[in-house]
């Protein structure tokens, strides 16, 4: 069969189409981002407009201006567009019922993935930047979301207040300060403005140890928006020696599955030259290696 002859041949010619009064008006409208349908004799609206409806009856010639939005009635995803397809990236062929009409327009729909598409979803026209009075003046349809983004940006100046400031100044010196409650003698870390027992000022500061008992803890494994630390990380409630209330900080320097309630921990400070006015001068708390505290000794702090 090798004697079959073959030679490349390109058939190419530009015909001149007469659009007529209905489709012609429709396409000319697209040039100005005007989308119109036409009324049928029985009161329906067709878009794209036709000179005749599907029964063969002439349409009325009465045009109706439409919004460039509609409902996705059916679609098929094109995962690997071919050379002559209208888009180079994956897209969907779609049947869209423009709002206020009784028919569908066939066009293409742009989306990142078919997971974004659902029959019945709202879509809108994306207009082409350069228009030529053709159906391609509608570049494509795209999913329309009724969501309006509402960014909020508020600038604050954080003023920690008298007692929190004294506490933070302590960190500049490598000290952890607590406030003593006059009524009960209990030491609060950080110090608070007023005693929760009698409301009296808690203005007597005492230095507490940078070590204590880990009473309880969690390992955070979930990422979230605005998170500064990279999960997983452990933080826990530590009752520092000389204080009477848990204070929270990171727990590290030990495998997560070896962290336990009652473990004795001590502060791992940053190198002194990196100290700032911050609780972050302590990188984390790590085990001291001392025997665990018995449960009864810290059970009231849970």
């Amino acid at each position: 069969m090798s004697d079959h002859l073959a030679a490349p041949y390109t058939f190419e010619y530009t015909y001149r189409r007469s659009m007529g009064p209905v489709i012609g008006r429709f396409l000319e409208g697209l040039r100005y981002e005007i989308l119109e349908g036409v009324k049928t004799a029985d009161g329906r609206v067709l878009c794209p407009p036709q000179e005749y409806d599907e029964t063969g009856a002439p349409t009325t010639g009465e045009f109706v201006q439409l919004r460039p939005t509609g409902v996705l009635k059916s679609w098929t995803w094109v995962a690997e567009p071919r050379e002559n397809h209208p888009r180079k990236t994956p897209f969907a062929f779609a049947l869209v019922q423009i709002d206020g009409t009784d028919s569908c327009i066939t066009h293409i729909l742009d989306a990142k993935s078919p997971k974004e598409l659902e029959t019945g979803m709202r879509v809108r026209v994306r207009w082409a930047k350069e228009k030529r009075g053709t159906i391609q003046d509608i570049e494509c349809f795209e999913p329309s979301s009724p969501i309006l983004l509402g960014p909020v940006h508020l600038d604050f100046s954080v003023m920690p207040g008298v007692h929190q400031t004294a506490y933070l100044r302590g960190f500049e010196q490598g000290k952890i300060l607590g406030g003593k409650c006059k009524a009960t003698g209990k030491v609060y870390v950080p110090p608070r403005g007023a005693s929760p027992v009698d409301g009296q000022p808690m203005d007597e500061y005492v230095e507490v140890a940078d070590r204590g008992v880990l009473t309880t803890f969690t390992v955070v494994r979930i990422p979230f928006e605005g998170q500064k630390l990279t999960p997983p990380y452990c933080f826990g409630a530590i009752v520092l020696d000389g204080s009477d209330l848990p204070f929270y900080h990171l727990i590290s320097g030990v495998a997560y599955d070896e962290i336990r309630m009652g473990m004795r921990v001590k502060a791992k400070w940053k190198p002194r030259e990196e100290w700032e006015t911050s609780v972050e001068n302590i990188l984390y708390f790590e085990p001291t290696g001392e025997p665990d505290a018995p449960f009864e000794s810290y059970s009231e702090h849970l």
Binding site: Q164, E225, L245, S278
Partner: protein, 382 residues
């Protein structure tokens, strides 16, 4: 108190991860017209509106109660907003009931909502403020250490929490209003990843869009209604955030709140309560609140959960609707508990109805286990 108060209408929205199909006012109107229809009332019949939602940062709409006043039919009428963090849905209903009980109004519309999909509650709960490490990691980050404390204090079997998740999701399958309709086995719950050790993904509440509304009425208006749920007792209690020796596992404010409600209602929680809807955003809070609310002794809660006592058909069915573990529009979650308790004694809970329920308790908590709201409702006029 000079007046009796009854729930005569209840409405809930469809709860989903995202209700993109409705605006915030549209979401509330979906619930409120269902409640009005249930009560056979119109907006014009309502004397006042009492509304609750979580802190404004959760949605980023400042004072939504004012922006929505006309949508809620509040023009020319009093509208009040209640703020008590996660317990807000409960305390909102309590405030509304007080307006009736004290004779201020005859018929009050109360509602609660959250459109979580418009924002990010994890972000809102986890600020990275200057001078300190960012330790907070959402509600689960706060509550996980407390759950660990509970487990250690009572040497609880580690399966108790997962079994609550299985049970609440099974109950949720009976409730068409529930957001999650999940079938999951104990093994599947235990195989899920830890988000905040010891809280697993499968033991955590979803993030939902939704709203709930109730019509409350005094004796005069409730008498003609078919099946009012009579309010037998209400209470709201609060405690300090930072307090040496504060028991966060079994908070004093929760105990006081429960006792106050039982005393008002004249009921014994261990004998007279047929079922309860309690605020369980993470599975282990079922045993924790069982004990805190006096349904059983400290240390017994986890056994109750494991023994099936809290299932529909058990000794004390809890969260028949599937609870917060199935549906969590934060600001509404508390009021959904109150409304579901009322549905039980009205006999309108359909597939998740507890047979013959006559007295039910609704409960909500919020903040760092520090705000509590409860009510007891009954089928019999007190």
């Amino acid at each position: 108190m000079s007046e009796r108060c009854a729930v005569i209408g209840i409405g809930q929205t469809e709860h989903r991860e995202s209700r993109k199909d409705v605006s915030l006012p549209g979401l509330l109107r979906e619930a409120l017209f269902r409640a009005l229809e249930d009560a056979g009332r119109t907006l014009a019949d309502m004397d006042a509106i009492v509304i609750g939602t979580a802190p404004d940062m959760f949605e980023g709409v400042m004072m939504p109660e004012l922006f929505m006043a006309d949508a809620l039919g509040a023009v020319g009428k009093p509208i009040f907003r209640v703020h008590t963090a996660g317990s807000v849905g409960g305390s909102t209903a309590v405030v509304a009931s007080h307006l009736i009980q004290h004779g201020v109004h005859e018929q009050v519309l109360t509602l609660a909502f959250e459109k979580q999909s418009e924002a990010n509650a994890m972000w809102a709960l986890s600020p990275a403020i200057p001078f300190q490490p960012q330790l907070v990691a959402g509600a689960g980050g706060y509550f996980a250490p407390l759950i660990r404390s509970y487990m250690a204090r009572h040497d609880a079997h580690p399966d108790a929490g997962p079994m609550v998740a299985v049970k609440d999701r099974e109950h949720g399958l009976l409730n068409p209003n529930a957001h999650l309709h999940l079938t999951q086995t104990l093994d599947e719950v235990k195989a899920a990843p830890m988000l905040w050790d010891p809280i697993r993904y499968s033991e955590t509440c979803p993030s939902s869009d939704g709203a709930v509304a109730m019509v409350l009425a005094n004796d005069k208006h409730a008498k003609g209604c078919k099946n009012p749920a009579w309010v037998l007792g209400t209470s709201v209690r609060t405690e300090r955030t930072f307090m040496a020796g504060r028991d966060q596992v079994n908070p004093g404010a929760g105990q006081l709140c429960a006792k106050d409600v039982y005393d008002q209602a004249g009921i014994d929680p261990r004998k007279d309560v047929d079922c309860a809807e309690i605020y369980v955003p993470f599975s282990w809070f079922e045993p924790m609140w069982l004990e805190n609310l006096g349904f059983c002794d400290p240390g017994e809660g986890w056994k109750w959960s494991m023994e099936g006592k809290t299932r529909i058909g058990g000794q004390l069915p809890l969260n028949m609707s599937g609870g917060v573990l199935c549906t969590n529009p934060i600001g509404a979650s508390g009021m959904i508990r109150f409304a579901e308790a009322a549905r039980q004694v009205r006999g309108t809970a359909a597939a998740h109805q507890v047979d013959g329920a006559k007295i039910a308790v609704g409960h909500a908590y919020g903040g760092g286990s520090q705000f509590f709201a409860m009510w007891a409702v009954g089928s019999k006029r007190p």
